[in-house]
């Protein structure tokens, strides 16, 4: 499944996919909608996500993803929907998320192990 350079929408939710999200996903530079929710994906979301500058819809809810939410997600300036709930994310919520002005549709981070405070400016 290499060289799917033109993909703008990839929906793979509600299956049984396991393992990590390959960093090569960062090469989907035309991607607008990426849905991987409700699988058994593990490991970290790499900084690659910041390469997906056309993304308006990103949903990875209900997996077993862990580690920090990458701050590079702030590069996704068109993001309207960000669903990362029901995973095992730790650390603080990157401030960059709160600077995405288009993020008006959904921001769901519940049921993780996130820590720290939510900035006052939000």
């Amino acid at each position: 499944m290499g060289n799917l350079i033109g993909l703008t929408q990839l929906m793979m939710g509600y299956n049984h996919f396991s393992g990590i999200i390959p960093s090569t996903f960062g090469k989907f530079q035309k991607m607008q909608k990426l849905v991987l929710s409700a699988n058994q994906l593990s490991g970290h979301i790499g900084e690659f996500v910041g390469n997906l500058s056309q993304l308006f819809f990103l949903d990875m809810r209900t997996n077993m993803l862990e580690g920090h939410i990458p701050s590079s997600i702030g590069n996704c300036r068109k993001l309207q929907h960000l669903g990362l709930s029901q995973n095992k994310f730790t650390g603080t919520i990157p401030l960059e998320i709160f600077n995405i002005s288009s993020l008006t549709n959904l921001l769901k981070l519940s049921q993780n192990s996130l820590s720290g405070s939510i900035p006052k400016e939000v």
Partner: protein, 173 residues
């Protein structure tokens, strides 16, 4: 005949329209099996019977007898069985939407479908939660035309292959 309240079965007599290029019976309340004689009308370019209550399976050889078919929409019915193996040779098919039916089994290899830009397989029971499910992924290599791939809500398993978006060979050339 799309978007009406038509009900009952589609009469086989309609297959006498020998030079038909497009069939639209979407969004009705039609039932029974979509007449298989339509799959022998070689002039057809578009078949759309989405949002009805058609059941039964698709003829395994249907894509052999539809050499001009570019768009095939049968989402939101009750079709079952396998995706016809003959799809492997449907080289001019650009859009396939079979979401929300009851299809089972593996997805055939699609490497000859060079014009495919939309592949909608969601809400079926395809795959069997094994690494075999990824064979069809690998058949999509070099599909720069593909824009929309929806395989949500099936039984696909295995690990996401690194090659999923591996553009390095292409970009270096």
């Amino acid at each position: 005949m799309g978007i009406n309240n038509l009900e009952g079965e589609v009469p086989h007599k309609l297959c006498h329209l020998k030079d038909l290029e497009q069939v639209f019976v979407s969004i009705n309340n039609l039932s029974g099996t979509f007449p298989s004689c339509f799959y022998n009308i070689s002039s057809l370019i578009v078949i759309s019977d989405t949002e009805n209550q058609f059941n039964g399976s698709l003829p395994p050889t249907m894509f052999h007898t539809l050499p001009n078919l570019q768009q095939f929409y049968i989402a939101l019915n009750q079709a079952s069985g396998s995706i016809p193996p003959s799809i492997t040779n449907a080289s001019i098919l650009s859009l396939l939407e079979i979401g929300a039916n009851q299809f089972t089994g593996q997805v055939p290899a699609l490497e000859k479908l060079r014009d495919l830009f939309y592949l909608g397989l969601s809400q079926n029971n395809l795959g069997d939660n094994s690494t075999n499910d990824l064979i069809f992924f690998k058949s999509l290599t070099n599909f720069s035309s593909l824009q929309m791939l929806n395989i949500s809500d099936n039984s696909f398993g295995g690990q996401l292959p690194n090659s999923l978006a591996n553009l390095s060979t292409q970009l270096n050339q």
